[in-house]
């Protein structure tokens, strides 16, 4: 296989990953590293570098559409980005000290967890009416547009959410993923944000978090242009196509299938990591 064929295949794989990731809302970034390492035999460090760059592209591409609709909360995003960017620096630092086997096992565990999370039903309940002192101080309470006009919401659980965000940032920097699953968890469960707000704000933050990790990866020489090129262009185009048909399409079955794919990839990553094959 020469570079032209290799690049074309990786571009196609990334295109499908980005498309399914954005269509199902599970994110295409998580399957890029398993795709590159398991199917193409790429060293996991190069794979993580390329994946992290593609994560910035999809986050910024999608956020451009989201922020204009007024769902994302810029203040919450900015405040939590302190936690995620610091986490990303720690994660990127850890990635150069951990062996590729350990990286593969952690990656697999995160994939299994993401698959499990996506199978759970998100229930919008326990909305709070009383303002939290932290939220008031940081001006985090806001409103978002619905069919019945603007709805006000309050935020709580700031210290818990902030800590979870540090973990999300660390995973992002360590594994080259957006870790949207952990971010949404922190904002849904700990801080009780409305879904639309947590999903879009989380997506919005992913780019900044990934940029913090990518800076470190670049200076370590983990980002190979020949590999990053097809991955970035594939994932970006795929996710933009996926976002176009997101509204109004029944994606439940597709979501289950994609979650099962992620689960299988997770198990394979753990197996290969333990067997020392990666």
């Amino acid at each position: 296989m020469n570079i032209l064929e290799f690049t074309t295949l990786i571009w196609l794989g990334s295109l499908v990953a980005g498309f399914l990731g954005s269509l199902t809302g599970l994110g295409g970034g998580v399957v890029i590293v398993p795709l590159l390492t398991l199917a193409f035999g790429v060293d996991i460090r190069y794979a993580i570098g390329a994946s992290l760059v593609s994560v910035i592209a999809t986050s910024s591409g999608a956020a451009a559409a989201y922020v204009r609709e007024g769902f994302s909360n810029i203040r919450i995003g900015m405040f939590l980005e302190i936690a995620t960017t610091l986490g990303a620096l720690v994660g990127a630092a850890l990635s150069s000290t951990l062996s590729t086997q350990i990286l593969a096992v952690i990656f697999g565990a995160v994939l299994v967890y993401s698959a499990f999370l996506s199978g759970r039903r998100r229930e919008e309940d326990h909305r709070i009416d009383k303002p939290d002192p932290w939220a008031t101080l940081l001006k985090l309470d806001a409103s978002y547009p619905t069919r019945d006009g603007k709805v006000q919401y309050h935020v709580r659980g700031i210290p818990g959410g902030f800590s979870l965000m540090f973990v999300a940032g660390t995973l992002s920097g360590l594994l080259g993923i957006g870790s949207g699953a952990v971010k949404v968890l922190a904002m849904d469960q700990a801080m009780r944000l409305p879904f639309k707000v947590s999903t879009t704000t989380s997506n919005f933050m992913i780019g900044v978090t990934a940029a913090a990790g990518a800076g470190v990866y670049l200076s370590r020489g983990y980002i190979d242009p020949g590999l990053a090129m097809p991955v970035v262009l594939g994932v970006l185009i795929g996710s933009l196509l996926g976002a176009r048909i997101l509204f109004g399409t029944k994606t439940r079955l597709l979501r289950i299938i994609f979650a099962l794919v992620i689960l299988a990839l997770g198990i394979e990553m753990i197996y290969n990591g333990l067997a020392g094959k990666l």
Binding site: M1, N2, I3, L4, T7, L36, F40, G41, V42, D43, R45, Y46, V53, I56, A57, S60, G61, A63, A64, Y66, V67, R68, S72, I74, R75, M78, F79, E81, I82, T85, L86, L89, A92, A93, S96, L137, L138, K139, G207, V208, A211, A212, G213, A214, G215, V216, L218, S219, R220, G221, Y222, I223, D224, P225, G226, A228, M229, P230, V232, L233
Partner: protein, 129 residues
């Protein structure tokens, strides 16, 4: 909530942020594509070696190195410039937010945003822990 400046509402801020992100991504993707076409034209028939990790050469690891590489019209350097533009896009958003919060006279968020920008700058200029 009372805003000191009604011209700089969060809604308007968000629209501009959306535009910055869009322009950044389009610019970065175009540079990556251009570099990619050159790269495939020059090296398309060579075999790839990604199974063993060597790390990238020094001129693809830093902002200044990439700039030099682009000036000598290296295809890989051009792709890496696109990657740098991509990394710069969220950073540009953060820089714009500082200006916007300053116009809103929101001291808390000027500070919050400066911290985020500090971490990003530290990372991009070869910081590590």
């Amino acid at each position: 909530m009372v805003r000191k400046s009604t011209d700089w509402t969060d809604g308007r801020l968000e629209k501009i942020v959306g535009r910055i992100l869009q322009i950044g991504v389009i610019a970065a993707a175009s540079v990556v594509l251009l570099g990619g076409i050159l790269y495939l034209g020059r090296y398309g028939s060579v075999s790839p070696h990604y199974d063993v990790f060597h790390g990238e050469p020094a001129n693809l690891r830093s902002v200044s190195g990439v700039m030099k590489s682009v000036l000598s019209f290296h295809a890989r350097g051009l792709i890496q410039l696109g990657v740098l533009l991509l990394i710069a896009t969220p950073i540009a958003r953060v820089v714009f937010s500082i200006i916007a919060f300053a116009l809103q006279r929101d001291r808390t968020y000027i500070l919050v945003t400066l911290i985020v920008l500090g971490v990003l700058t530290y990372s991009l200029f070869g910081g590590g822990l």
